[in-house]
């Protein structure tokens, strides 16, 4: 199925996408209403996910997070999320930065790019496979494909105790 591509985010939608309702302390949160009204495009739409993949390399995410396995920064593949696996939390991490070295990309990307990148990063570390996925790289593969729920292949979800600082799921 060929999905709709949205090249131009309308300014009102873009400003609505800025509204991230976060739990106290910046853990987990709820995406803005407009995200649900659009049909959760950034989590599912293959075009948005591949734009996110492109942004991942363009903005040098791999210099700290590697190919998703982590290096200086945390790994995405182990399914362990310091700030919860919700997409709003990932978008907030990119937009506002996090302590211990994650810079804020608020002034480096537009808000829809931040959402695209967040959708892609969520896909890398997903425990359950998504229907949409970006295309694979031409060069050597170093980890399972994005649509294979890599975290569930590589790691067991339980019985790891939840991070005491992590808030409840939205």
């Amino acid at each position: 199925m060929r999905e709709a591509r949205q090249y131009r985010t309308d300014p009102p939608v873009a400003s609505a996408l800025e509204i991230l309702r976060m739990m106290p302390g910046g853990f987990n949160g709820t995406p803005p209403e407009v995200y649900f009204a659009l049909g959760k495009p950034f989590a599912q739409n293959a075009y948005d996910l591949s734009q996110g993949k492109r942004l991942y390399s363009w903005f040098g995410c791999s210099s700290c997070h590697g190919d998703g396995r982590g290096a200086a920064g945390p790994s995405f593949l182990d399914g362990w999320w310091f700030y919860g696996p919700g997409i709003a939390s990932i978008a907030a991490s990119i937009r506002d930065g996090r302590p211990h070295g994650m810079p804020a990309f608020r002034d480096k990307m537009t808000i829809d790019q931040i959402w695209q990148l967040a959708g892609y990063i969520q896909t890398i570390g997903a425990y359950s496979a998504k229907m949409g996925a970006p295309s694979r790289n031409d060069d050597k593969q170093t980890r399972p494909a994005e649509n294979r729920a890599p975290a569930s292949i590589l790691f067991h979800e339980g019985p790891v105790a939840p991070n005491p600082q992590q808030g409840p799921m939205p």
């Binding site: 591509r5 090249y7 131009r8 985010t9 300014p11 873009a14 400003s15 492109r54 363009w58 903005f59 002034d107 480096k108 990307m109 537009t110 829809d112 790019q113 031409d138």
Partner: protein, 311 residues
């Protein structure tokens, strides 16, 4: 303006002779066939129902000679085509090497020098000295593109992960329009380039200008525009040498106002077109990689003034 028949350099001339020769030859053959057809129809119309026994043998001779002529013509055209296209990529040592990187949907031209301080890059406008062999190293960043300046030479593909070489030479000064010749996505038709061939003195002057760092704006509006450019996402993708903007994914804007067009030949480089492009690139060229950055009308005017000052 951009035509295979307007050949201005040797390889393009060879290709022009090849195509004109093929068309003329095929036209002659077609006319001959039509004459024979008309003649035989007329003859059959005048004397219906007769088939002379000795025409059988004569027909055999005619078919044999037609088949021989076909083989001869096709062989001749094949050899001519080998000669004409074989001259395109002679791997000679050329005095000037320029790296061409094709991206969806614009051309990046990198003038590398042994001294990295002298290297510079430009977008969609390839300046070359007249009468010199230029070695173009062709690369692609995303999908397969094809470099084609019909007045100067034949086309050559740019393939991700591979480096192709094309020798380009212009014997007369002028502006030659080129075009991506391999379908590379939504905006394939908006991926034009200009080859500007000029004499050595003006080329050296141009290169010296390009090598210099961006001018510091003096006008108040442009100064404010520079601050907006650095604070907004613009600086993450574009670089302007001499400032902190050092992004590598978009075209280098160090001397953008010196170019004739923006967005790979889509718009003339005027202040109004710049403003329209910055305000909403996705409506002008849907699918390109420049996002629509939210700007107030004041910020838009300031950034446009800054772009206009980057001569």
């Amino acid at each position: 303006m951009q035509s295979v028949l307007n050949a201005q350099a040797e390889p393009a001339l060879h290709l022009k002779y090849l195509i004109v020769g093929t068309v003329v030859l095929c036209a002659i053959i077609w006319i001959m066939v039509m004459i024979v057809l008309a003649w035989s129809l007329l003859r059959a119309y005048r004397s219906p129902g007769e088939a002379a026994p000795e025409t059988e043998r004569r027909m055999g001779r005619v078919v044999l000679s037609a088949a021989a002529a076909t083989v001869f013509v096709i062989t001749g055209l094949t050899i001519a085509s080998f000669y004409a296209t074989g001259s395109l990529g002679r791997p000679e040592s050329a005095p000037v090497t320029i790296k061409v990187r094709a991206q969806q949907w614009w051309w990046q031209f990198i003038y590398d020098e042994p001294d990295p301080a002298k290297a510079f890059q430009t977008a969609n406008e390839l300046h070359i000295p007249v009468g010199t062999d230029i070695r173009l190293e062709l690369e692609a960043a995303d999908v397969i593109h094809s470099f084609w300046v019909p007045s100067l030479t034949g086309k050559r593909d740019l393939i991700p992960g591979r480096r192709n070489v094309l020798i380009l030479r212009a014997d007369r000064p002028g502006i030659y329009r080129g075009q991506c010749a391999e379908f590379c996505g939504l905006q394939h038709s908006h991926m034009a380039l200009f080859v500007i061939a000029e004499d050595n003195a003006s080329f050296d002057r141009w290169a010296a200008d390009q090598r210099s760092e961006a001018r510091t704006p003096s006008d108040g509006e442009a100064v404010a525009g520079k601050a907006v450019f650095m604070a907004k996402p613009c600086a993450a993708c574009h670089s302007i040498r001499g400032t902190e903007a050092s992004g590598t994914t978009g075209p280098d804007l160090t001397h953008i106002a010196s170019r004739q067009t923006i967005a790979a030949g889509l718009l003339d480089n005027t202040r109004g077109a710049l403003a329209a492009w910055i305000a909403d690139p996705q409506t002008l060229k849907p699918g390109n990689n420049m996002p629509m950055v939210p700007l107030s009308s004041n910020e838009l005017r300031q950034i446009t003034a800054y772009m206009d000052s980057l001569r």
